[in-house]
């Protein structure tokens, strides 16, 4: 009964949100109540699954086993966090708040589609559920309705629906193979019962088609191109859901198939999983380095992590499967946290460009440290949960004797680690010059851009930044301009930082004052920068966001960040016994 409630609750909430009379007034509270209720129900079901091993709501149609419960738990936890986050985030980021109930309606539908995936046991309904996760989230991805968001939504829809059509063919072939193998009911269990008797020639193609088709949705490499677009252009709470749990929920279907095709095909499926997985990890790790948009950074990291999980499944063996399950948990917790942090940055600066954000720590301790923690955690730094997952996987791979694959994986992980931290480090630290840029200038001028005009005299954006510390502006700013001209931006910022240090440690205390000053005096500079062809307005000079601890972040966002940080930190050092039980049983499900 509870399982039905889990499926129907978001649907009910969606209906309520779509009714204009209710939705216009109470869409957000309704969504919050339904998400919270969903989490409570899910915990209840998960507890029963841990005790009983399996919850059957309607035999052969709706059942929840350990693996399903894990996904369900992740979906509803991230769902409730994303909902809280939306309360603070969406009103600030939406131009037209009168359509916000559409957002919440679609949000609930999206949650509905994702809880549908782990509870149904018939592959054909499973296909429909996965198709729904696309269809019901397309409009959310394009919610901001600018041309980039619509482009992202279009690519997302077309590529993933194409994949779904290929997977449909695969599922139909799978059904045929099951018939050839001697019938039964078309469920995971029914398939597993005749697994050894299915004709390999059909089964192989069926599995490959599903792997490729749903791989497009998971973001496995040849078909990953939509993922950075969609996961960066969607509203941030949706990004957290898309990246954190939707990809995983689809990967769940692929992983479920592995024990079914293993008896007939043997080691071949492990090989494919390894190839696709390592390809994804490798390509994503190198693509990470050259991104310019920090949300895309985390999106590529999702591709990488999906690859890691698939690689873990490809290693084979109970330990690797446990590692895969642990990594699923770790990725969902960490990646949603990362996106919440990225959303906070976006909220504070209005910028998507990594290069235009410097000195975040001074703007807002919360956003800065969240971004830093998130980046460290997702890159796999030791005390956090992803580290443990990756460590488990590498160790299991070694014990399975897959030395080449483990070696490649380790190299890619290191590359990704440096790629992520390279970008985030610059955003969070780089203090004084960063301050100067964040204060008055939307995009940092590269060498070519500041030629000419800035050469003539002291540029206003530097004199403004130096006002509070009362330096004689003439020579110093000319010197700075020269330094900036001569060097690429990171090096230049270091030079400037040295200058700032010499001016005394009072820089950051003087910061609020500098903001006051800049808000008064930055209007000419903003006009100036616009005439330079830099169209975005200097966002941080907005008095709506004072600098400091939270930096003007809405409290639901801060709350979400704090809540989301808990599993990232805690599960890295301590796994509670019921969770361990759940994970190891889920690992047994894909172990067959």
């Amino acid at each position: 009964m509870t399982v039905f409630a889990i499926v129907l609750l978001p649907l009910l909430a969606a209906v309520l949100c779509w009714i204009p009379a209710v939705g216009k007034r109470a869409a957000a509270p309704v969504t919050f109540v339904s998400s919270a209720g969903l989490l409570a129900l899910t915990i209840h079901v998960t507890a029963r699954v841990v005790v009983l091993g399996k919850v059957v709501a309607l035999a052969n149609w709706v059942e929840v086993d350990s693996f399903g419960a894990l996904i369900l738990l992740l979906v509803s936890s991230v769902g409730v966090l994303a909902c809280i986050y939306s309360l603070g985030y969406m009103p600030k980021m939406t131009h037209d708040s009168s359509i916000l109930h559409h957002y919440y309606g679609n949000f609930n539908l999206f949650i509905f589609s994702m809880v549908l995936v782990p509870v149904v046991v018939s592959p054909s309904i499973e296909w429909l559920a996965v198709e729904f996760t696309t269809l019901l989230s397309v409009l959310l991805v394009g919610f901001e309705s600018n041309s980039e968001a619509l482009e992202a939504a279009w690519k997302y829809a077309v590529l993933t629906l194409t994949g779904a059509a290929i997977a449909l063919f695969g599922f139909l072939l799978l059904f045929w193979a099951m018939q050839k193998g001697g019938g039964g009911s078309y469920t995971w269990a029914g398939l597993a019962a005749v697994a050894a008797k299915m004709p390999p020639v059909v089964l192989k193609t069926a599995f490959l088609m599903i792997l490729v088709g749903f791989g497009a949705k998971v973001g496995l490499v040849p078909l990953h191109t939509w993922l950075p677009d969609a996961h960066s252009q969607a509203p941030t709470p949706i990004c957290a859901l898309l990246s954190g749990v939707e990809t995983t929920a689809v990967l769940y279907v692929i992983l479920r198939l592995m024990p079914i095709v293993r008896p007939a095909l043997g080691g071949a499926i492990e090989r494919w999983a390894l190839i696709f997985g390592l390809l994804s990890v490798g390509v994503a790790a190198f693509l990470l380095i050259q991104v310019h948009d920090y949300k895309r950074l985390f999106a590529y990291s999702t591709v990488e992590h999906m690859g890691i999980i698939l690689t873990a499944a490809g290693f084979g063996g109970a330990a690797a499967h446990y590692g895969a399950m642990y990594q699923i948990l770790a990725h969902a917790a960490t990646k949603s946290f990362c996106f919440f942090a990225a959303g906070a940055v976006l909220l504070l600066t209005g910028e998507r460009d990594i290069a235009s954000i410097r000195g975040l720590m001074q703007r807002s301790r919360v956003a800065g440290s969240a971004l830093l923690v998130g980046a460290l955690a997702i890159a796999g730094a030791p005390p956090f949960v992803v580290f443990l997952g990756e460590f488990l996987i590498l160790r299991a791979g070694l014990s399975e004797g897959r030395y080449v694959a483990v070696g490649l994986l380790a190299v890619f992980l290191v590359v990704a680690f440096f790629g992520i931290l390279l970008h985030v480090n610059r955003m969070v630290f780089s203090r004084v010059a960063g301050e100067a840029r964040v204060l008055t200038e939307p995009e940092p001028p590269t060498g070519e851009e500041i030629e000419g005009e800035e050469r003539l005299g002291s540029p206003p954006w530097i004199s403004v930044s130096l006002t509070p510390v009362e330096r004689p502006t003439g020579t110093a700013s000319a010197h700075l301009a020269e330094a900036l001209e001569a060097m690429p931006s990171p090096t230049a910022s270091q030079v400037v930082r040295a200058e700032g240090h010499s001016s005394g440690p009072g820089a950051s205390e003087a910061h609020p004052a500098s903001l006051e000053a800049s808000s008064a005096s930055s209007s000419p500079s903003s006009v100036r920068t616009r005439t330079d062809g830099l169209s975005a307005p200097p966002v941080v000079a907005d008095p709506k966001f004072p600098s400091g601890f939270a930096g003007g972040l809405p409290w639901p966002c801060v709350l979400t960040l704090l809540l989301a940080a808990i599993p990232v930190v805690v599960f890295g050092v301590y796994v509670p016994h019921p969770l361990y039980e759940l994970l190891s049983r889920a690992a047994a499900v894909i172990g067959g």
Partner: protein
């Protein structure tokens, strides 16, 4: 016996025309023409399901035929007309990535490839209908994906998607006639939702950038994001 051989022959003929319609979707230059070929293709799918289900009578297949006749030739165009009327009624030419003869030649190669790819399954299935429906279904699936990639417009891309689904079912009616009717119904439902969602999205794109040339949307790249 004679009756059965006629049924088989008609099914093969339906398959041939189904394949020809799929080629037509690659070859035509107009949105409307593409739509008509899609409708014809769906009707041939229904006809094939009918022919395979009539003797011996398989109610599942007859229901598939009925669902297809109602769903794709009637409901899908109706939904598209409701969401994006200016796109459906247009006789404007579609912009293509490849010129049409080249696209056709590639499409041909894909169809021949589909035939060789499915040879082992055909031998496994062993029925005469499977020999027609499996390769043609796979060919339609691949050609639908091909249409998607060579077309730059929203509606033809959507039709390519639906053609892929048609292809999948063209195969399934021959190899898995026992498939639960519920599956057919939910897929039909899913097609409608997909058409609706993509229609709404297309309308938003049309409103935002004034065209539905989705191929022209190329702002999101690593190089240009700065």
């Amino acid at each position: 016996m004679a009756g059965e051989s006629f049924l088989y022959q008609f099914n093969a003929l339906t398959g041939g025309l189904f394949l020809l319609c799929t080629f037509g979707m690659v070859a035509t230059r107009q949105v409307q023409g593409c739509m008509r070929f899609f409708i014809l293709q769906s009707l041939f799918l229904a006809a094939s399901a009918f022919l395979l289900g009539i003797h011996p009578v398989l109610w599942g297949l007859l229901a598939v035929a009925a669902i297809n006749v109602v769903n794709k030739p009637i409901l899908v165009p109706w939904l598209l007309r409701r969401t994006i009327p200016e796109e459906i009624h247009t006789r404007r030419e579609i912009s293509q990535v490849l010129n049409i003869p080249a696209a056709l030649l590639l499409a041909l190669a894909i169809a021949v490839g589909a035939y060789f790819l499915t040879l082992p399954w055909v031998n496994l299935a062993g029925t005469s209908a499977a020999g027609v429906n499996i390769p043609i279904g796979l060919a339609a699936l691949l050609l639908g994906a091909f249409t998607l990639t060579v077309r730059r417009e929203a509606v033809p891309q959507l039709l390519g998607l639906l053609a892929m689904e048609n292809g999948a079912f063209f195969t399934s009616i021959a190899i898995a006639p026992e498939l639960h009717l519920l599956v057919e119904l939910i897929v039909a439902f899913d097609v409608l939702i997909a058409v609706f969602v993509i229609g709404v999205l297309t309308r938003a794109i049309h409103k935002q950038i004034g065209t539905t040339q989705v191929g022209a949307l190329a702002a999101l790249r690593e190089e240009s994001s700065r």
